[in-house]
């Protein structure tokens, strides 16, 4: 496989490919470790492997959600406190359309896409008027109104009010109980596709302008870019990804709980990308993994004091990993490489050619 790719391309994508291979093999490896033959894993029999798949699906959902937040906050520099609404609209729309209107999944997804475009447009209406922290507060306002709508008793028939939406009939071919392995691969494929798309977006001229807006909007404007359009593009893509993550959440979780529309869930996305590294995209993936496993592990082994330790870990991360896991790693890896180069220069004897450079 390496032979076909040019070396630089291979270096660029090797991390993703290795991770992808590991993720593809994960259910079977876990099954083998437990003593389950691959056929049993394929047949979705109960066991550690199935449980790990479930956990991994949650990580994928979180990763996709955080990825979408990274695009508007980390790349474009729009601080939004209403991002949970993007996710919750996807989740609730999927749940309500399948449960109350009996639509098939593909039609539901079309509606979700449509809704995601609409909400990105809704956010973009206020974009030219408010900037910075005020934009964050206005989006917070919109999201809280949506949150209250979900919680209200008048719409309880469709949303389940404060109990959450439950009793949605899962699509047969993606049922988390009987077809979990397939759901796992579908979620993985979705995440990888979206990651690739995001990466391409960030590396494209459009994405570069988005980064420029983050760094200095005035200068981008002065260079003749209509920054509103670029922000809108980022919002649209981000909203679409978040809504898809929400739809996946609705399919996987037995109950769609209303807290996914609250400010707390936006903060979750913020925490994930802060753990991983703001504006790095990979940071969202790493952060989601760390966040979910930390949450799971602490709840399981620390019991009562889980939240306390969690808060402590956040503070420690802020102190010791100043730019998140991926951000700090990138910074340090450059230093490491420079350090090695220095040692190499200090050695008088050169392996290739003795001539001084």
């Amino acid at each position: 496989m390496t032979a076909n790719l040019s070396p630089s391309l291979w270096r660029r994508w090797r991390g993703l490919l290795i991770t992808l291979a590991a993720a593809l093999l994960l259910p079977f490896v876990v099954g083998l470790l437990e003593g389950q033959p691959p056929t049993a894993v394929l047949a979705n029999s109960a066991g550690v492997s199935k449980f790990v798949q479930g956990l991994a699906i949650e990580v994928f959902i979180f990763a996709l959600y955080a990825l979408s937040y990274d695009l508007i906050f980390g790349i474009t520099g729009l601080l939004s406190f209403g991002h949970a609404m993007f996710f919750a609209v996807g989740a609730y729309l999927t749940g309500a359309l399948i449960k109350s209107f009996g639509l098939p999944l593909w039609q539901t997804l079309i509606w979700v896409t449509f809704a995601s475009v609409l909400q990105a447009l809704l956010f973009s209406v206020v974009l030219p008027r408010v900037k910075g922290i005020t934009f964050a507060l206005v989006t917070l306002g919109m999201a809280s109104v949506f949150h209250l709508m979900i919680m209200s008793r008048e719409l309880g028939e469709f949303t389940g009010a404060d109990v959450g939406l439950q009793g949605m009939i899962k699509p047969d071919f993606l049922n988390p109980a009987t077809e979990r392995l397939r759901l796992y691969y579908v979620a993985l494929a979705l995440l990888v596709t979206m990651y690739y798309l995001f990466k391409r977006f960030v590396d494209s001229p459009t994405g570069r302008v988005c980064v420029a807006i983050r760094e200095n909007e005035g200068r981008a404007l002065m260079l003749g870019y209509n920054t509103f359009r670029f922000k809108l593009a980022a919002l649209l893509l981000s909203s679409f990804a978040a809504a898809l993550a929400g739809a996946l959440y609705a399919i996987y979780q037995p109950i769609i709980s209303p807290h996914i529309a609250s400010l707390g869930f936006t903060v979750t996305a913020l925490l994930i990308i802060l753990i991983g590294g703001v504006g790095t995209l990979q940071g969202a993936l790493v952060g989601a993994l760390v966040y979910r496993l930390l949450d799971f592990g602490l709840r399981r082994y620390m019991g009562e004091s889980a939240s306390f330790v969690n808060g402590l870990i956040y503070v420690l991360i802020v102190i010791f990993l100043p730019y998140g896991i991926v951000g700090t790693w990138r910074m340090k890896s450059l230093q490491l490489r420079q350090g090695w180069a220095k040692i190499g220069d200090a050695i008088p004897w050169k392996p290739n050619d003795g001539a001084a450079r």
């Binding site: 507060l137 004091s305 802020v318």
Partner: protein, 513 residues
């Protein structure tokens, strides 16, 4: 007059709209209901203002969005409760805290010494000192006698103590005594560990800079702290008995003072140790303050337990006997009733008159501080242009610490004032933080009068909608009686915020950037 009008046009317009809104709101309800709702709005507004003003000062000068502000509000409430209901615990805590602080009061001397003793490997030596101090503390602190309540046992839980105190049955719980450790060992150990930590820090940070020589000032400081600490240790029983026997008004005043002091100390400590390294990467301040707020909430849960309880009101506002509810001010002065009759409605004095009054006093005193003092001048200048103030050679760092401490102290004051009125719970901080954020967005994020106006608007709007939820709004030309449901209360303030921000992105009184 003309310039005044032009300058304050928005403020006057808002007040006019507010007056019109109030007049319209008052038409559909009884006068007594209207007055009570108005006063309740003032009360919520005052508490929100105490949180919002500190938050806005911190955000304006330091550019820090302190998401732990709500938690600090809550910690202020719980600290005040501890002093008010369990003074014995408070007195027990004074000694170890004073002894631990004593080392740091000699900071100048340590710095002076650290420069003199410049040896290689002082980093290692300092860390060995920290290790010794940590071992000493780990040995002493668990054995140090502190009278505590027991969260798991209802008879000894904070809830039970609160209940007993509110019924006037003040039976001092058994005092904790030195049994596992000799008092001398404890005092010496605490002193030594404090000195080790303070000296180690000075040693690590000494960058060849000569410290100031010893002054009488630092000696008097350390003498004062030691005096307080050892005094509290020697006269422990007498002090506890005195506080238990003290008039509850005075005890409440002490509780408020201690709570504010706790807030100021926590704020200062937080800024110096944790916030200061983060000015270069502001977004991580969000994560830090979030983490701190989680830690604070969990600590409060672990120490004071999850159930809600109320702090009893001081005697001045708790009379219920003959002559109550009072109808005139003179009546109230003689009987100290908890309620008074105002426009034929019963108004709770503490909740609906005392809290707004304190809010007003704080509003005016901080206003004077900002307008008439040197610190206030630096703060106002810093909000406008921080770099310029730094360039003029003013020690902005110290001002940052002071402002952070002041802001957190205001939040703690709000917390301890709120405790007798809305009670203590683990979630009281969040709702007030959200209220304060909305109020600030409405009034203008960095504007001090904006914080006051926004808080007032939020408080009034919430209380009027709650009231209309009970009596209903008749919709004109129809027979329908619209009753706002409870979820509309937060939604209304949020909607007001969105509308205001869309019309005026900098808030009502915010300056244009």
């Amino acid at each position: 007059m003309n310039t005044f009008l032009r300058k304050n046009l928005l403020l006057l317009l808002t007040l006019a709209v507010l007056a019109g809104f109030l007049a319209a709101a008052g038409r559909n309800m009884e006068t007594s209901d209207f007055v009570i709702t108005l006063l309740r709005g003032f009360s919520v507004g005052a508490l929100t203002f105490l949180v919002a003003s500190g938050f806005s000062l911190i955000f304006g000068l330091l550019d820090v969005l302190n998401l732990a502000h709500g938690t600090l509000f809550m910690i202020g409430a719980y600290a005040g409760w501890t002093v008010y209901v369990r003074p014995d615990t408070f007195i027990d805590l004074v000694t170890p805290l004073a002894l631990l602080v004593s080392g740091f009061t000699l900071a100048d001397a340590w710095r002076h010494l650290a420069v003199r003793i410049s040896m290689t490997g002082r980093g290692v030596a300092a860390w060995i000192g920290f290790g010794v101090a940590a071992l000493l503390l780990a040995y002493i602190l668990p054995r140090y006698p502190i009278a505590m309540w027991n969260v798991d046992d209802y008879a000894q839980s904070p809830v039970a103590y609160s209940l007993a105190a509110s019924q006037g049955q003040v039976t001092p719980p058994p005092a904790a005594t030195f049994t596992e450790i000799a008092p001398g060992v404890a005092v010496l150990g605490l002193l030594i560990s404090s000195a080790f930590i303070a000296f180690g820090l000075a040693w690590l940070r000494s960058g060849g800079q000569a410290g100031r020589p010893l002054t009488w000032r630092s000696f008097t400081r350390v003498a004062m702290v030691l005096l307080v600490g050892l005094g509290a240790l020697i006269f422990n029983d007498a002090l506890t008995a005195w506080l238990f026997a003290l008039n509850s008004n005075w005890l409440f005043a002490i509780a408020v003072a201690v709570s504010v002091a706790t807030g100021v100390a926590l704020g200062g400590l937080m800024e110096v140790t944790l916030i200061r390294p983060l000015y270069v990467r502001p977004i991580y301040q969000l994560m830090l303050t979030l983490g701190l707020s989680v830690i604070g909430t969990e600590l409060v849960r672990a120490i004071w337990g999850r159930p809600e309880f109320t702090m009893p009101k001081p005697e001045l506002f708790a009379g219920t006997g003959a002559g109550c509810p009072a109808t005139t001010f003179g009546d109230w002065l003689t009987h100290h009733c908890s309620t008074v009759i105002l426009f034929e409605g019963r108004v709770r004095v503490y909740n609906e008159i005392f809290i707004p009054l304190v809010g007003l006093v704080v509003l005016i005193s901080i206003w004077i501080l900002l307008k008439r003092s040197r610190l206030g001048m630096i703060i106002r200048a810093g909000v406008q242009d921080r770099q310029m103030v730094e360039a003029l050679g003013i020690n902005v760092r110290r001002v940052f610490t002071q402002v952070f401490a002041l802001g957190v102290g205001l939040a703690a004051l709000g917390g301890v004032l709120a405790a007798p009125s809305i009670g203590l719970s683990n979630t009281m901080g969040e709702s007030f933080l959200l209220n304060a954020l909305i109020a600030l967005a409405i009034g203008g994020l960095t504007s001090y009068p904006g914080a006051a106006l926004g808080s007032l608007l939020v408080g009034l709007l919430q209380q009027f909608i709650i009231k209309y939820g009970q009596i209903g709004i008749p919709i004109p030309f129809t027979e329908i009686l619209f009753k706002p449901t409870p979820p509309i209360v937060p939604a209304s303030t949020v909607l007001l915020m969105v509308i205001v921000l869309l019309i005026m992105p900098n808030g009502l009184l915010g300056k244009k950037e």
